[in-house]
């Protein structure tokens, strides 16, 4: 276990996201009203930075680019969303928020296709 302090519980407003640097790892914290979630900083769809394009309302995080959305209470996917979010384990203690940083969570993205460059050969 490697519990790291991220921020104070008052540092992230209700229905918002905020980006923190946890010893060199970018962690996005969202306060959805009835709790906190800590996730990687980008959308698993197309690497969109969620501190810019993430919207939190009614306990749902939505990426405004292509409307992928996740229920922050259940961590489940909503609508047309095709990939789940990855979550860091969190706990609150003495007015601070901690994450269990075992390793940085990253998503797999499709690499560009392997069309060879002898395209017109």
């Amino acid at each position: 276990m490697a519990w790291k302090k991220v921020c104070g519980v008052g540092d992230v407003e209700v229905n918002s996201v905020k980006l923190f640097d946890v010893e060199g790892v970018n962690v996005l914290v969202t306060n959805y009203g009835s709790g906190f979630r800590a996730i990687p900083p980008i959308c698993p769809h197309m690497e969109e930075p969620l501190d810019v394009s993430g919207i939190v309302a009614n306990c749902v995080l939505t990426c405004s680019k292509h409307l992928w959305a996740w229920d922050l209470r259940t961590e489940g996917m909503l609508g047309e969303t095709e990939k789940p979010l990855k979550f860091y384990e969190t706990r609150e203690e003495d007015g601070a928020l901690f994450v269990n940083m075992v390793e940085e969570l990253v998503y797999d993205f499709d690499s560009e296709d392997d069309l060879d460059d002898d395209f017109f050969g």
């Binding site: 959308c43 769809h45 197309m46 690497e47 969109e48 930075p49 810019v52 394009s53 680019k65 292509h66 499709d110 560009e112 296709d113 069309l115 460059d117 395209f119 017109f120």
Partner: protein, 416 residues
Amino acid sequence: MAARNHDQWMATPPLQKGEWIDSRVYTDYQIFEEENEKIFKNAWVPVCHESELSKPYDFRTTSIAREPIIVCRGPDNQVRAFLNVCPHRGMMIERRPSGSFFEGQPSGNPKRMTCMFHGWQFDMKGSCVYVSREKEGYQDRLCKDDVGLRRLRCEVKFGGFVWVNLNDKAPDLESWAGKPFECLRKSLEAEPLEVFHYHKAIVDTNYKLWHDTNCEFYHDFMHYHNRVTGFNDAYFARKNEAFDNGHIVVGTFEVNYDKYEGFESRASLSFPHLPPNQWYMIDLFPGINFNLRGSALRCDVVTPLGPNKTMIEFRGLGLKSDSKEDRMTRINHHNSIWGPFGRNLHEDLIGVQGQGNTMMPGTEPRRVLHGRQENQTIHDENGMRHYYDEWGKWLNRLPSSPDKPYAAASAVTAAE
């Protein structure tokens, strides 16, 4: 002869075939359209230099013959070119002149080209990677594999220039221009080059009049400083050499820069493998010029905008490895010849604009002479004769009488 009346003015000059042309090649709208279609859509054009998109995901936009083009560098460091057109509804995909896709745009994501119109996205190889609400609208009738970008022939060559050809079946770049580049290849390819200067001029003249000026040095009579300090035996011995495909090379000679008032020798900064202070010039059909004056390389490229309107893009290049001090010296060398207060470029522009003023669409046809024969040396006009012979083949028009087909004329010549 005294001044002439109209009939005398319009009479055929006492020169051989091919030593003069009819000014309608510069003024006719139909010919301008044919040049776009038959020449510029089939020729290799250096649209930029690879140092202008030095990092993965960097891009530049440009056009050839009205076709919008985007050039970008992939994560694999390869430079590729595409039509800058969305396969969905024909929207221009990228509107900036240059930039990077590494960061996302307001309507797109990082590392993708995004059409802002309906949010379709493409990777740096031109593959479609996202169609918004794909299944809902197209079910299984059309998928991303069906809607990739239009990829274009693109080669990075001859010193890192990015060459594009709109014709998938055009001859390869090496066979198109390898021969004229032989004289400078070692110098341009010894180490990476870098653009330190860019500007463009939109001039009221025909693009061929500009290229003519790059192909003949007789107009050194206009360049006062060249005339009073440059005319010497070595200068007059310089050769104009013709190559296949309408290209010419102006052979080198050693310039005594220290004889120019306020100038210094360029020997210490001459390009790799280039003897000190040498000066080469390569003129490629249909309107591209590479001009290496010892320490600084200039490349200019034309885009015809109308029979009487031409965009010329100028680039100045040095070595990527330049120290800050060497680079400043190189820029100074570049500007002292080709900058706004330099010796040459503004005078060249005055020359071609003056021609443009007398040869507008609708003006009476004039005879334009290029019949100087001086053993193919610097004031010979063989470069232009060679160019217009090539031009005639591409358009199947006789330059001295553009209503007549070139093919018929050459058949007559052969019969003679």
